[in-house]
Symmetry: C2
Subunit: 363 residues, 2 copies
């Protein structure tokens, strides 16, 4: 057990790290963030900050010596950095988990090997592969880079009239590329489940929530998901099985589709706090961020019940300008991330509405 | 209005500043702490820290230039420092409020002038004064230094057999001293009310709570206070009247006695977050810390309803060793302050039990 007073090392300096550091502080932990970004959202609330590239081995060595455990808020930290850190300090989740979750090919293959369904897919490594995959899966389909995609980046829609070769070159810019083609899924809604797992293997999951995306970015999470209880239970079971099979220590967020005929298909997953879990800050006794701290420090996991319904809305780009109205709304819980620059598509904050305190107004 | 993204200057680096900085961060503010203490609980969660004495005018000037508004978590900041800062930046609460609340003579006289009762008292400036005061007020009585007392420090009980002259010399150590003698109050319980007040004069109060002290240090706050509703309402009215008369911007905590015959007497007050308001972190939509940020930044004050009963227990000295049990208790919300050194009488953390989640176990 890593007791309060110890220092949590955080790889990545965004809002997920920031909210984790705030939760860690409540339990008496110090946070030391490592990020290339100066004056990051996370550094503003940390005891220590290292501003360096993830390839800076001297900085990584000094960081490893200064912290008691390492976790992350960004799954694209180079695996070499994780391996190097792990020689000196526990890294949770570890490089093995990241190897699976950071690559869509490994991720989908891993899930399918557990007998869990995904959208139909094919790994592709060339324009010819894309052509064959589209032939097998039909159109529309989506070509997605295997690595480094988020919020719709690294994706190309393959319509009836799209040229697969052009799509391949558009995505890769002529560079070697691993990617997948995913077949069309006629889904009724998108859902997600977040599971926490401790070093001793104990697990706790949050209830299934429903996610609405706009322009490929999460706009809104509705709690609970408006689906049949049996489907929610299946989603929670899927997430728990994947977390256990991965042996993740920390959090695992699993995004899933519910098809119109009631099938649950895994879309993607992330071994870190997840935007679809921000509602837990205001509606649960233990937020996802506190749960991450508990998991990586080996403390008992906290309760994950949902005492009331909730809706979380992201404040993206100039939507952050709504803050004066939101800070005045009695049922709204406003969270802002300390980012100075307002850019289109940038997540600058979120607001949680709790049922009985204004969530009804959202319809 | 001082908008999110601005920097809150915090005078004092203890747990009250720490919890305020955590609340400020949630709303997107940066906190810059000014404290003589290196590695203070507050600095661990702040964007910036100045470690300097409150008499260091160069450091104060640089601090004033770096922040957008100043508040405090310690009422004994030298008034000269507040006056100097106020030439450059809003200081909330201001030096005028502190002049009243930091001196028991001014404080009691101010309250009495509003027609609000205190224990019977006399200002004393010499051993002869103490003798006369005890003659007028009877015994037992308490001799209290006018300034710089907290947690029972700076107090001498005057029993039937106490020598007033010896008590005077014990308290002052031979130095000039302003003090008060307070007559005995046969009280049924101690209560407190915290009121927030904005620059525009709007106010919101939290419900009346009951406080249990051990060795002159707050041990436990019980929410709501176990008193008649009319007495609770009177206490809330008293606190609101004092806050308005003082013109405080920020928080005012008013400690009161309820006598066995149902009178409400003001004991003392503090224009800052208060230990008896820590329960609001876990039981209210707006904690006292967030409310302080809202008040000093001119945001609308948040709701102060009590959705459930609660008990807050301080973790003092080696009581912090209870953390493994508390972090595992489903109904307990543990808060630790990041203080490395465990000393007798030192507040190292607290735990809030919410009714329906274990508070019953406390009886």
């Amino acid at each position: 057990m890593i007791p309060p007073g110890a220092t949590l090392g955080m790889l990545g300096g965004g809002q997920l790290g920031r909210m984790t550091a705030l939760a860690a502080a409540r339990l008496g932990y110090r946070t030391h963030v490592f990020t290339p970004e100066p004056d990051s959202p996370c550094a503003q609330v940390c005891a220590e900050a290292t501003v360096a590239e993830f390839t800076d081995h001297a900085a990584l060595a000094a960081f490893a010596a200064a912290v008691d455990v390492v976790t992350l808020e960004w799954e694209n930290v180079p695996p070499e950095a994780l391996v190097m850190l792990a020689e000196h300090v526990p890294v949770r989740p570890g490089a093995g988990v990241l190897t699976v979750t950071r690559d869509r090919i490994h991720e989908k293959a891993f899930v399918n090997r557990l007998g869990i369904k995904t959208a139909p897919w094919r790994p592709v490594h060339s324009a010819a592969d894309v052509d064959r995959a589209v032939g097998a899966l039909g159109r529309p389909a989506v070509l997605k880079a295997a690595r480094l995609g988020y919020d719709g980046k690294g994706q190309v829609l393959l319509r009836a009239d799209s040229d697969p070769t052009a799509a391949w070159h558009h995505l890769g810019g002529g560079n070697p590329l691993d990617a997948v083609v995913e077949g069309f899924v006629d889904y009724a809604c998108e859902i997600s489940v977040i599971v926490a797992r401790s070093p001793d293997g104990s697990q706790r999951g949050y209830p299934t929530v429903e996610n609405q995306h706009e322009h490929h970015i999460l706009a809104r999470t509705i709690v609970p998901a408006r689906i049949a209880p049996a489907i929610a239970a299946e989603a929670e079971n899927i997430a728990a099985r994947i977390a256990e099979a991965l042996g993740v220590v920390g959090l695992l967020a699993v995004e899933m589709f519910v098809t119109r005929d009631g099938q649950v298909l895994v879309n993607e997953m992330a071994p870190r706090p997840h935007n679809s879990g921000h509602w837990t800050l205001d509606a649960c006794a233990t937020s996802q961020f506190e749960q991450l701290v508990r998991a990586v420090c080996g403390l008992p996991l906290g309760p994950t019940d949902r005492p009331c319904d909730a809706v979380m809305e992201n404040l993206i780009g100039d939507q952050v300008g709504r803050w004066p109205e939101l800070v005045a709304a009695p049922g709204a819980r406003l969270h802002l991330y300390g980012k100075r620059e307002v850019r289109a598509g940038r997540k600058l904050g979120h607001v949680t509405w709790l049922k009985g305190f204004g969530v009804e107004a959202l319809g």
